[in-house]
Symmetry: C2
Subunit: 138 residues, 2 copies
């Protein structure tokens, strides 16, 4: 199935709060993730919020990578969106999940820009969850 | 259901090619959309690709709004991601869909950062499609 892009949407829980509130470290991590995905960085824009939280986007030639953090919840919302055949968005996911020490990751992969017979474009969704440190309640 | 953010993912088809390849007009449109959603703009980063296409992100205090265009296909991939109760991402969607004169819009709304009983965060998905100018093949 031909698709113009792959967009990975992640909810990361149980992350280290200090890391999530450190704009310099978050920026460094997102740039490292973009490089791991073999993306070409055009610009990186990051902001620290008062009193808490970081937002940032790395604009890449192949689309974008973004993060928004809630340190008080140990939570980060991450998007990895790449186009073309030379990038691997999952490598960026691995870097981010590993360095933030996320205890669970709830993921939807969206294949974007899938052409239909009617000259329209649609997307498909596939959701998975990885739980590391948590014990499920029964 | 408490949620930390609403993320609208749109595939817009049948858009005006000239508009999709004009980086200044696309930037102006995305800023207008952010304002329509009552978002607070922190930064706007846009790029024109050679030979064709535009990418851009408006970083807002409430998350981000992005666009990636394929003028040769009349196609644009748009994300509107807002947090908090004072923004309305659907107003941004309406502005963009209207001005690009999209003939069909394939949309998934993702409610992000939904806390579970296990201190994890997940998201939910809801997909819809609006077809304007096209006639369905049977």
């Amino acid at each position: 199935m031909k698709t113009l892009g792959v967009h990975i949407i992640m909810e990361l829980s149980g992350c280290q709060a200090d890391f999530l509130d450190n704009v310099e470290k978050i920026k460094e991590l997102m740039i490292k993730a973009a490089i791991a995905a073999n993306a070409h960085i055009k610009e990186a824009v990051f902001h620290k919020f008062n009193p808490i939280g970081v937002s940032g986007v790395v604009v890449i030639a192949e689309s974008h990578i973004s993060i928004h953090t809630w340190p008080e919840c140990g939570y980060a919302a991450v998007d990895i969106y790449t186009c073309g055949e030379n990038t691997d968005p999952w490598k960026a996911c691995d870097v981010i999940t590993e360095e933030l020490k996320a205890q669970s990751v709830f993921i939807t992969q969206i294949d974007r820009g899938i052409p239909t017979d009617n000259n329209r474009f649609v997307h498909t969704l596939h959701t998975t969850e990885e739980v590391r440190g948590y014990v499920e309640s029964s």
